[in-house]
């Protein structure tokens, strides 16, 4: 039984990572009706940006300001559970931005970049064949991947995890602190997305713009802005996902998301592409399913069974477990 719970815990922590990216996929699908293949790569690139700003700070570019004096100015180091929020001193004496600042900064950059991508690349291809938009996202995939490969190199880099301590003991099983954090973020995000789409006017407008752009314009909704907002928010969610994936897979590399994206797709589809709850449930199901297959069937069967099951479930429920049925129009 201990084995079972151990595997359950590991599966849940991998599943949490799938769920995070799946949430971004669900978000963009609901907001724009597009299946975004570049979601993982955008997340990867934004994570790299997070990585760049998390490196030791150098203040040498500020004239007439010694490092010490500068740090004294910002010498306010509030901590939550031992994580420096704004600035932290490392054991080697260097100063880094605190985790909270890194997250805020990176998510902000991701938000802007998502919007820019929508405006500059997706917009011109809009209103044509849906397949075109999908191919454009494949193009973004290739561009982002190769720019990351070129700027940062293929070698994995260390990425800071907010919680580094030992696993939390739940009696039956232990869950790594970071995995627990990822799970909590995932569930919180799921609720946030639910509230955004179901309970806010803006979320409703975003959905309407995706459902029927023309009618939305007649409601006074600026559909262009809604699409941009959808991409921005999806990029921000993906970026959060990337920042949580990177520490758990031992570092960030341009291929960070290759091992996650397909499972995230599987998770999103399994749960139903338009359901945030489905993304989380699907992510956990895929993650736990994989570990259970490793434990009880054999490791070489893990992906075969996982993907086979997804096909099987889709046969029974064609729009995933929580997905709403597709409306066929005449």
């Amino acid at each position: 039984m201990e084995t079972f719970f151990d595997q359950l815990a590991i599966g849940a922590s991998t599943g949490a990572l799938y769920a995070l990216l799946a949430l971004a996929l669900v978000f963009i699908f609901r907001a724009t009706d597009i299946v975004n293949f570049a979601q993982g790569e955008m997340a990867m690139f934004n994570t790299y940006i997070g990585w760049s700003i998390s490196r030791p700070l150098s203040f040498s570019w500020i004239p007439f300001l010694s490092i010490e004096r500068h740090i004294n100015i910002l010498n306010w180091h509030p901590e939550v559970f031992g994580i420096p929020l704004f600035l932290g001193s490392e054991s080697d004496g260097s100063t880094r931005l605190g985790y909270l600042l890194i997250v805020i900064g990176t998510v902000a950059i991701a938000f802007v970049m998502g919007g820019l991508i929508e405006r500059l690349i997706i917009r011109p291809s809009e209103g044509k064949n849906l397949l075109n938009a999908v191919i454009v996202t494949l193009g973004i995939f290739a561009i982002v991947n190769s720019i990351a490969n070129w700027r940062y190199g293929p070698v994995p880099q260390n990425y800071p995890a907010p919680f580094k301590g030992n696993a939390v003991d739940f009696g039956l099983f232990k869950l790594g602190q970071h995995s627990l954090f990822a799970l909590i973020v995932g569930v919180a995000m799921m609720f946030a997305i639910y509230v955004f789409f179901q309970r806010t006017k803006l979320g409703l407008a975003v959905r309407a713009a995706a459902l029927n752009p023309q009618a939305s314009e007649l409601m006074g909704i600026n559909t262009g802005q809604m699409l941009t907002l959808g991409w921005s928010l999806a990029a921000a969610i993906g970026c959060l996902a990337g920042m949580l994936v990177a520490p758990s897979v031992a570092g960030i590399s341009p291929n960070l998301m290759l091992g996650v994206l397909l499972y995230a797709f599987a998770a999103a589809v399994l749960g139903g592409l338009d359901s945030a709850l489905g993304a989380v449930v699907g992510g956990l199901a895929v993650g736990i399913g994989q570990t259970m297959v490793v434990q009880y069937i054999g490791s070489e069967w893990s992906d075969i069974v996982a993907f086979g099951l997804i096909i099987g479930i889709l046969m029974v429920k064609p729009t995933g477990i929580f997905g709403s049925p597709v409306v066929k129009k005449v």
Binding site: G153, N158, N255
Partner: protein, 443 residues
Amino acid sequence: MKWHRKTWMLALLAIIAVLPVLGIACGDDDDEGDEGGTPATTATTAATTAGGSPTKAATKSPADEIANIKGDTTGVTDKEVKIGSYYAKTGPAAVYNDIQLAWNMYFDEVNKKGGIAGRQIKFIVEDDGYNPSNTVNVVKKLVEQDQVFMLFNALGTPTGMAVLEYVKAQGVPSLFIASGASKWANSGPTIIGIQPDYVTEGTVLGKEMAEKQKGKKYGILYQNDDFGKDGREGLKKGVGTALTLVGEETYEANAADITSQALKLINAGAEVIATYATPAQFAGVLKSVKAQGKTVTWYSSSVTASGSTAKLAEGAMDGVITAGYAPDPTDPDPDVQKVVKFFKDHGVANPTAFHIVAWVFAEHLERLLTVTGKNLNRSSLIYAMENVAFQGDWTSTLLYKPTIITKDDHRPIEAMFIQKWNQAAGKFDFDVSKIIDSETTKR
């Protein structure tokens, strides 16, 4: 003029009738034609490549003999020699691309000093994305379009396997292949690997386990490809019956997380886990197993034996035992540090173990080309490699034992050592006197 459907059909039927039908209809008799045809061509090649050297070797020393061997000089001029290679520049295997960049830096330096025997060394490195069907394409391009003289240090086992027969049939030397498959050692004169093969390496690691961990239970965790499967084979051979095997687990190269496999082994009672995994995955599993509060002794392949893996593992690598054949950049040895400085001077911020091995590989090629000298052709090159260049005590500056290559021994680097990562000191601990010449472990 109007094109009716009939016209189209007639035109197409004509094509259909003339070309493939005739061709395929006759396709069956080429069974015999082929048997007859291929040996004939091979015979011609053999005549050109061998050049009658063995008979004359008796009168002159092998070194003098090189100058007289005639052979295929494709890709060689007086000023330049064109050498091809393929690496993955994208995808998960792109981490190894640093090796190629590093030996390019090495030869840039050589070229600046006038090249070798008056020739500039020009590399054409193609990107195959570690996909064997792409490799077939890029090697065809290198051989048939770019007309390279030879292939050097091409990356990968599945990729190499895909083109092995083609490269052999074309008579293009493919030397010092960057892969630890045991197959290279017996694939004919024109093919040779460079590093200790994974079966041998696994055997060395397994013997170490048999010695130090006698009577315990162990499990194997390996990547589901040639690399992992060769390693597994060697490990099992080396361990023999000294330890009890509780399970073998595998994972796909792009897996995000392989902790589940490790936990299965630990929960089955394994006290020792031997892994054939790549650095990122290995570091990940070390970290999460540690976070789960489980303790286990890790043995791992030379692929993960580097300070950068330890960095990724964030302290969880302490005490991991690996096999190795080249030093890590963290090694304080002055020769190693000189090489590290060389790469730092060439704009590499953090030279890794890849840069070290690239240096070693490059030295081998430089040695071979230097020994072959002015009369460079495919036959003389192979002759020089098998009979002159790596016979005595020539040792790469970064290795501990001489490299030996003969006609019957196509395993260049064979000396290995066992090392243990020391987290506090930030380097590997190992005993130079205890270097295992895997010559002894040869099958």
